[in-house]
């Protein structure tokens, strides 16, 4: 049970405080309700590029990192398709420095041309390092494009192509900032050795004067139900054939999401999972095989992905996967197997909640989804799922017409 207090400033900024006196540290986590899904299709990669620019100086403070480091603190940030999250950790007695820094960059960036031109290059190198200069680096670029016809999940956070990042202009930066980086679109979580009363004062002092801004109303095109299987074959300079297949699944808060999560565990979670045991160990068709999803807030993709043992025909490998899927659709999962994946989920939650940093980011994430208290009822939602739910949901999503198949072949 993660305890917290919540209050809202007059400018709409939601603040959560999680007190933990066992640590000498404090975490300040600021989540902005904007991700790659909110980008214009011709200006992709912008939310992530913007995250870099948030470290390029704010209106009153030339450098974000230096004063924080001087206060014994450390920080980082990440952008997903759904959101952008900034966090710093520092000795609790120096927490006001984090309020000073975070509030100034929420007030306004410095919009430095130099920072933009350098970070464009840095992000292009990040793009090259992870997605171009790596074997199989473009798998998800291809798969997203195949699986989504209208929803902006059709591009990766890093962007569709280098040119979108290279062409980012300072006016785009300003527009993006004042549209999304306003108190009314942000959630502040403070965790660690702090008192809620003190945080109330600090929040009011530093964030209170920032203009509220307009609430960003998200209206994204929703992906229509897929009614015809899509397939793509690519040849590339890679050593092994790879197989990737996805099926559309439910959005984050739906019951189907929790069922899908357990299905991925049954099929691909660990060395005793069905796909690994059958297709890697017994049939020796794949040298590795994973089943996962990204935890997307909007309707996401359940994925099975693996590399084939050299010499195996990819159609034969795909057929073997289909047989495993038919089995989970037709035969109710044994209670022991269901208990196993639920135990695993319980364990994952307990380990995740160990550090104040991950507790802070989880609280922010659940608050974004509607209510931080959801964090404390997650396990119950998994416990409620029964064998029939698994059968029913497997039948619902594992339809061939709901699938996208990529054969990524060695040239």
């Amino acid at each position: 049970m993660i305890e917290y207090n919540r209050f809202t400033l007059d400018n709409g900024l939601t603040v959560l405080v999680h007190e933990d006196t066992a640590t000498p540290m404090a975490v300040v986590n600021v989540l902005y309700d904007v991700g790659a899904r909110d980008e214009h299709p011709e200006k992709t990669g912008f939310a992530h590029l913007f995250e870099h620019l948030m470290f390029g100086g704010s209106i009153n403070i030339a450098d974000y990192d230096e004063p924080l480091q001087r206060a014994g603190g450390d920080n980082n940030a990440y952008t997903t398709n759904d959101l952008t999250n900034y966090y710093c950790q520092l000795p609790a007695q120096n927490i006001e420095t984090a309020f000073w820094l975070e509030s100034d960059r929420m007030l306004s960036l410095a919009f430095s041309e130099k920072s933009l031109s350098v970070q464009r290059k840095v992000v292009c190198e990040e793009f090259r390092e992870h997605y171009i200069n790596k074997p199989y680096g473009d798998v998800w670029k291809q798969m997203r494009h195949l699986a989504y016809t209208v929803h902006p999940y059709q591009w990766m956070t890093i962007g569709k192509e280098l040119s979108h990042v290279e062409n980012a202009h300072i006016d785009d930066v300003k527009h993006f900032f004042f549209k999304h980086y306003r108190p009314v679109n942000a959630i502040l979580v403070v965790a660690g050795n702090v008192k809620t009363e003190d945080i109330k004062q600090l929040a009011q002092k530093w964030f209170g004067p920032i203009p509220m801004g307009d609430k960003y109303i998200r209206c994204l095109p929703q992906e229509p139900v897929q009614n015809q299987a899509r397939r793509l074959t690519i040849e590339a300079e890679v050593p092994l054939d790879a197989f990737v297949k996805t099926w559309h699944m439910d959005a984050r808060l739906n019951k189907g999401y929790y069922t899908a999560d357990l299905i991925t565990e049954i099929l691909g979670g660990g060395a005793s999972s069905r796909l690994y045991q059958s297709l890697v160990k017994e049939q020796k068709l794949f040298s590795n095989l994973d089943c996962y999803h990204f935890g997307s807030l909007d309707a996401g993709l359940l994925t099975i992905e693996g590399k084939l043992v050299k010499g195996v025909d990819i159609n034969k490998a795909e057929q073997a996967i289909s047989e495993q899927i038919a089995q989970i659709q037709e035969q109710p999962v044994a209670i022991a197997e269901l208990t196993k994946v639920k135990n695993k989920t319980e364990s994952v939650i307990a380990f995740e909640d160990m550090s104040i940093m991950s507790r802070a980011s989880s609280l922010a994430m659940y608050e974004l989804m509607g209510d931080a208290s959801l964090m404390n009822t997650e396990l119950e939602k998994y416990q409620e799922i029964n064998p029939q739910d698994i059968v029913d949901y497997s039948k619902q999503i594992f339809r061939e017409s709901n699938s996208n198949t990529l054969h990524y072949l060695a040239k």
């Binding site: 540290m25 004063p67 480091q69 001087r70 014994g72 000073w100 992000v123 364990s347 160990m354």
Partner: protein, 426 residues
């Protein structure tokens, strides 16, 4: 009126009185030492069994790593599937890792399940049988994985720079080929297992919310095993560094980035320069605000990241600079690295920058002392390197007291380009 231009008052981390939480120590009946850190709020537990079974002790490449990897793949009473199913049923993670001097089995689980899991861990280290079929599957899949990795410039660079510094016949410098996998045989694994696990030397580290009967449970399952009896072989390796200092490799003619590694030999953790050099390393390339990052990423945008660090070895080690940079700016990146070395040799670090780095380092230490797993990791590092908590207090004291002049002397002593090996892999 709020003045946003001035940083709120801070307490200098230099003034913190940092205390390392004491680790409980005891021995099992067969003298296995146990280190225990009872802390944390979640009902979770970590136990690590560390054996003197690293690649230092193998006579043929990859035997130590394979033995360690296949510990989960069959005993005389359980198949690989049954073993994995057992741990996963309880939501537990059983990992194994092979290092140079040591090799580990690590268990993470909810504290309430520990009594179901300990007997099976004991079975693995007394009764693993390394089935032929498991070995064959492992060989095939590892060779496939290797073939993918060999396409990556960073993977190639990491292997080669270690070879240049330590020599291919040194445990720190050798790496694995397809042929090594082909030449593995089951009997070698069984022999290595018997000598270095079943009859080997073990140290146990535990952390988290420790159940009150853990000591007696550990003693029940591990205290009567024939461990700690045979002497550990005393094997010495000589460094055989490469004669040639500068290397360039084209691994992928179409590559758009180069993996750059620049490294020099550096003394081990017991050397008087070691801890002070960590401060110099932080200034140079050890964190986000370092000179290498500020110059090469934040000013020039040549790379997504550039770091320097001292490799975490027990013996003589290396000081390394590592980055992936755009293909057309690799040379410029290397020359900027040497330029930063030159500045550190020629000019003392100014007080403002040095105090920032010291505060940052001590703040990080404070954060690192938070949580049972971080604490036991620190203790493990000390125990395995024959150090004690005094090392921690020395380190903190040195961060507080070391001055710019001393760091300048260290820069003159160690940051000389002609002593570095340099490699670019495209």
């Amino acid at each position: 009126m709020l003045n946003r231009k001035i940083q709120p008052t801070i307490t200098d981390a230099v003034s913190f009185d940092l205390k390392l939480r004491t680790c409980e120590q005891y021995q099992l009946d067969n003298t296995i030492p146990v280190y225990s850190m009872n802390a944390g709020t979640q009902d979770v537990l970590m136990i690590e069994w560390v054996f003197k079974a690293g690649n230092w002790f193998e006579q043929k490449n990859i035997v130590a790593g394979t033995t360690n990897f296949l510990l989960k793949n069959g005993t005389s009473t359980k198949t690989a599937y049954q073993i994995n199913d057992h741990f996963e049923f309880y939501g537990a993670y059983l990992n194994r890792t092979c290092y140079n001097e040591t090799a580990s089995i690590t268990l993470h689980c909810l504290s309430k399940h520990i009594n179901e899991l300990l007997p099976v861990v004991a079975e693995l280290i007394t009764d693993s049988i390394f089935p032929e079929e498991e070995l064959t599957t492992y060989q095939q899949n590892q060779k496939q994985k290797l073939s993918v990795n060999l396409k990556k410039c960073d993977f190639i660079a990491n292997r080669l720079i270690d070879e240049y510094v330590y020599g291919f016949h040194h445990p720190y410098g050798k790496y694995t080929s397809t042929l090594d996998y082909d030449q593995l045989n089951r009997n070698e694994l069984i022999k290595f297992f018997k000598r270095f696990y079943a009859e080997g030397h073990c140290t146990i580290f535990t952390a988290g919310k420790i159940p009150p009967d853990l000591q007696s449970q550990l003693n029940k399952y591990f205290g009567a095993l024939p461990l700690q009896q045979r002497a550990i072989p005393n094997i010495q390796y000589n460094l055989q560094s490469s004669e040639e200092k500068k290397h360039q490799i084209i691994n992928d003619a179409n590559g758009v980035q180069g993996a750059i590694r620049i490294a020099r030999p550096f003394p081990n953790k017991h050397h008087p320069d070691y801890q002070k050099t960590q401060i110099l390393n932080n200034v140079f390339g050890g964190f986000f605000g370092s000179r290498l990052m500020s110059n090469i990423r934040e000013d020039k945008g040549y790379t997504y990241g550039i770091h320097s660090y001292i490799q975490n070895h027990m013996g003589e080690t290396a000081w390394m600079i590592s980055t992936e940079a755009g293909r057309d700016v690799c040379e410029a990146t290397i020359s900027e690295v040497y330029k930063e070395m030159e500045i550190l040799r020629n000019e003392p670090i100014d007080e403002d920058e040095l105090s920032l780095v010291k505060n940052y380092m001590l703040g990080t230490v404070l954060g690192d002392l938070d949580g049972p797993f971080q604490l036991i990791a620190r203790w493990k590092n000390y125990v395995l390197n024959n150090l004690d908590e005094q090392y921690f207090y020395n380190s903190v004291q040195l961060i507080k007291s070391t001055g710019a002049e001393e760091l300048n002397e260290l820069a003159k002593k160690y940051l000389n380009p002609e002593e570095f090996y340099e490699l670019t892999v495209i």
